[in-house]
């Protein structure tokens, strides 16, 4: 322009024309500058929005942040956002911001069409469909003071796709997190040991039940080999070469059931049984085809094995105990059939058969009792009862055979009532007293006593018998154990009586013990504790209340 002005003397007209051109250029450049500013503002707003969308967080956090951001962007005073589920029309309000937003925005919208017409009915409200599937709807309310910022709304519209992706991502994260949580809850709450190893059989996972069984935390176990962690070899389970996890990894075939042993928390062998499976992990690119892992799900079967051994022993003993009297009966019967005997001998043989049959019948009854005891759960018909009444009934039974003369009852008159299954406890009392009568010399007294200790009534039965050697006291409480001195005495018995008594007392929460007599005389004191009826003030037959936790244990020492 200096060229023009410098060389040609300008006419008024030309100057005016040039002025006008300069003004136009200035206006144009100002407009271009303003446009560039607006574009930069919009770009920056988009950038900030996308940063927010990329920052993760839960669905609720994201929804709130997005509404706040879009309310600000559009210069609105309030806003709300509704999210729907894929394939489900109804949208649920996920976040709302600003004065009156709570009251203005319904908690649910019945689909996008309903959302559009709802927002159109309010002239201050502008609705925006951010996504069709799953439906996502945004509404903002302009304030009285200023209309909505169209630039800001444009940014929100431009970012629709990113908003949709961000919400889909947050939904997916939430769903995955929920699923992960559910699966973890199953694994963590399982009572079986669950152990996962990689291809080198290094531990990847160990659930809490496994940590407890092995006495090792996952932190300690992770990265170590299964042989180190489980100690199957040292526990006598299997040789290192026969590791089921290695077998599963090598063959690709799961093992549905296998028993082995591993090293428990105390270094002891714990027998376990369970399954071994393998799976292909997810590769880094998200497709299947990653490293193989093997998983063992194992259950502690020590108790089961012990029970099995017990049963096997039980069956062997029972068959022996049943065979002996049967053989006797058979022997006498054969003799009676094949030999001509005098009448007296014949009669003595029949009497003998009669006696042995009685013993067999008693044995069968007790075996049935034991079988019933092992049935789980042992059903007790507890009711308030008087211990003195139980003793009186026993005395009545003994009177039939004339043995009641040896019974000395030393029970206080004011004993509080107990809460027991009277039939069962009567059986215990009868059994213990019968033992005392049987093993103590004729004419010696058998003394029944009772005392209150805490919440328990402790009953004692003292005899003048041969006593039970200290070492055998625990054993005679197990099935079929009879003390050595008793076996020698040739007094018949099944070895089940005290075991049945102990189980019945324990089923009541009490304890049965064998001790020396407290007065120092030779003989035995059997004591057992019975639960008193809670709330002693009540009359017998009143409603029972649960015992307090602190008094739920029987006294530590009973019967001296």
């Amino acid at each position: 322009m200096t060229d023009v002005v410098g060389h040609v003397p300008a006419s008024e007209e030309e100057i005016a024309r040039l002025r006008g051109r300069i003004d136009r250029l200035e206006t144009e450049s100002r407009r271009a500058f303003d446009d560039a500013q607006r574009e930069a503002d919009a770009l920056f707003a988009q950038y900030q929005l996308s940063q927010l969308l990329a920052s993760g967080g839960s669905l609720g956090e994201l929804a709130t942040a997005v509404v706040m951001e879009l309310v600000r962007l559009s210069g609105a005073e309030a806003g709300a956002i509704w999210l729907g589920e894929r394939g489900w029309a109804v949208l649920t309000r996920a976040a709302w911001v600003g004065p009156g937003a709570d009251a203005r925005s319904p908690a649910q919208l019945g689909g996008l069409d309903a959302a559009r017409s709802w927002s159109a009915s309010d002239e201050r409200c502008t609705g925006l469909v951010l996504d069709e599937e799953p439906p996502t709807f945004l509404a903002v309310w302009a304030s009285d003071a200023q209309p909505l910022d169209t630039e800001g709304l444009r940014v929100a519209q431009l970012a629709r796709h990113e908003l949709g992706v961000a919400f889909a991502g947050a939904r997916l994260r939430e769903a995955l997190e929920r699923e992960r949580h559910d699966l973890a809850a199953i694994v963590d709450s399982a009572t079986d040991l669950i152990l996962q190893v990689d291809e080198e059989r290094r531990v990847l996972r160990l659930n809490p039940a496994g940590e407890t069984l092995l006495g090792a935390s996952l932190l300690e176990a992770a990265g170590r080999t299964c042989a180190e962690v489980l100690g199957c070899d040292v526990a006598g389970g299997h040789r290192e070469a026969d590791c089921p996890l290695a077998e599963v990894l090598a063959s690709g075939a799961p093992i549905a059931y296998r028993e082995t042993a591993l090293r428990g928390r105390q270094g002891d062998a714990v027998w376990v049984a369970g399954s071994y499976t393998w799976s292909v992990g997810e590769a880094a690119d998200g497709f299947a085809g990653g490293a193989r892992t093997a998983t063992a799900i194992l259950r502690d079967i020590n108790a089961v094995r012990a029970l099995e051994q017990l049963r096997e022993g039980f069956v062997a003993t029972v068959s022996h105990e049943l065979r002996t009297p049967l053989a006797l009966i058979r022997g006498y019967a054969d003799t009676l059939l094949h030999l001509e005997l005098d009448a007296a001998t014949e009669r003595s043989y029949v009497e003998r058969i009669h006696q042995v049959t009685d013993r067999l019948a008693a044995l069968v009854t007790q075996i049935l009792d034991v079988t019933r005891l092992d049935a789980d759960p042992l059903v007790l018909e507890r009711a308030p009862a008087s211990f003195a009444a139980l003793v009186a009934r026993l005395r009545g039974d003994l009177a039939l055979t004339g043995e009641d003369g040896r019974l000395v009852v030393d029970v206080p008159a004011d004993l509080p009532p107990v809460e027991v299954d009277s039939g069962r406890i009567g059986q215990v009392l009868e059994n213990v007293v019968a033992n005392a009568l049987k093993y103590a010399p004729d004419e010696t007294p058998v003394v029944i006593g009772a005392a209150v200790e805490g919440d328990w009534l402790v009953a004692t039965v003292d005899d003048d018998g041969i006593g039970i050697p200290e070492a055998e006291r625990r054993l005679v409480l197990e099935p079929f154990h009879r003390a050595g001195n008793v076996r020698e005495s040739r007094i018949p018995g099944t070895g089940l009586g005290l075991y049945i008594c102990r189980r019945l007392i324990e089923a009541h929460g009490g304890e049965l013990r064998i001790a020396d007599r407290p007065d120092g005389r030779p003989g035995t004191r059997i004591s057992f504790s019975l639960p008193l009826l809670p709330n002693r003030g009540r009359a017998v037959g009143g409603e029972a209340e649960p015992r307090s936790a602190g008094s739920g244990r029987p006294p530590e020492s009973v019967g001296g």
Binding site: D41, A45, Q48, L62, T64, G152
Partner: protein, 226 residues
């Protein structure tokens, strides 16, 4: 944390001889800004780790390193306005996160206001701070109280203008600006964020200083340093 002991109270008579604010002074200011940001970078990043994505200090260090490079490239006779615009564009381009475009905008706006003046008188300086705050607020769509850079920058600009309007010297105005920026920065602790990544935290954003407000205080403070 900026040491409070170095804050000098404004003297009633003003500095004896206010230095002329020319291109040299602007370059010196930018060098001080780089040093103070670098010194407190770890603190800024730690603050940002709570509310944002934990890169504010590192980002500013990268930005001011880039600024130093561009200052070396520009000829010595480049005017203050041109210097500041170049610096602003460099910050926008070099700094990741929102702080680059925001500080960049502030410097560019200040540079526009400086125009082609060789030296910047108190009125121009006062206007420069005001338009820097305006531009940053517009670009960030934020207002005072949103827990942003603006919570330090706006009070600083207002304090500077107030002192200059009352006939104070630039040295007095700078000190007033620093004190105002510091108060503004401190006020962000109680605020709930309404802009930026801290939005995610909602109410939980209260109780933490805004890293942007802290870095802005540092940049205002660099004005007062020698």
């Amino acid at each position: 944390m900026p040491a409070e002991s170095t804050v000098r109270p404004p003297t009633p008579t003003g500095a004896a001889a206010d230095p002329i604010v020319d291109a040299r002074a602007v370059r010196d200011y930018l060098a001080r800004a780089r040093r103070i940001v670098t010194r407190h970078a770890a603190y800024l990043t730690r603050l940002d780790a709570v509310l944002g994505d934990g890169d504010h200090g590192d980002n500013l260090v990268i930005g001011f390193r880039a600024v130093e490079a561009i200052l070396d490239e520009l000829p010595p006779d480049t005017r203050p306005g041109e210097l500041l615009q170049a610096v602003g564009h460099r910050l926008v381009a070099a700094v990741g996160g929102a702080s680059g475009p925001l500080y960049g905008t502030a410097f560019i706006e200040a540079g526009f206001r400086a125009g082609d003046a060789d030296t910047l008188d108190p009125t121009i300086l006062s206007d420069m701070l005001a338009v820097a705050a305006d531009g940053l607020g517009r670009r960030g769509r934020c207002a005072v109280g949103d827990k942003t850079i603006l919570d330090a920058l706006r009070p600083a600009a207002d304090a500077f203008a107030r002192v200059v309007g009352a006939g104070g010297s630039p040295a007095q105005a700078v000190i007033a600006a620093e004190l105002a920026a510091r108060d503004g920065m401190r006020s962000t602790r109680a605020l709930v964020a309404r802009r930026g990544l801290a939005l995610r935290l909602g109410e939980r954003s209260a109780g933490h200083l805004d890293p942007g407000a802290v870095s802005c205080f540092l940049l205002v403070r660099a004005l007062a340093l020698r």
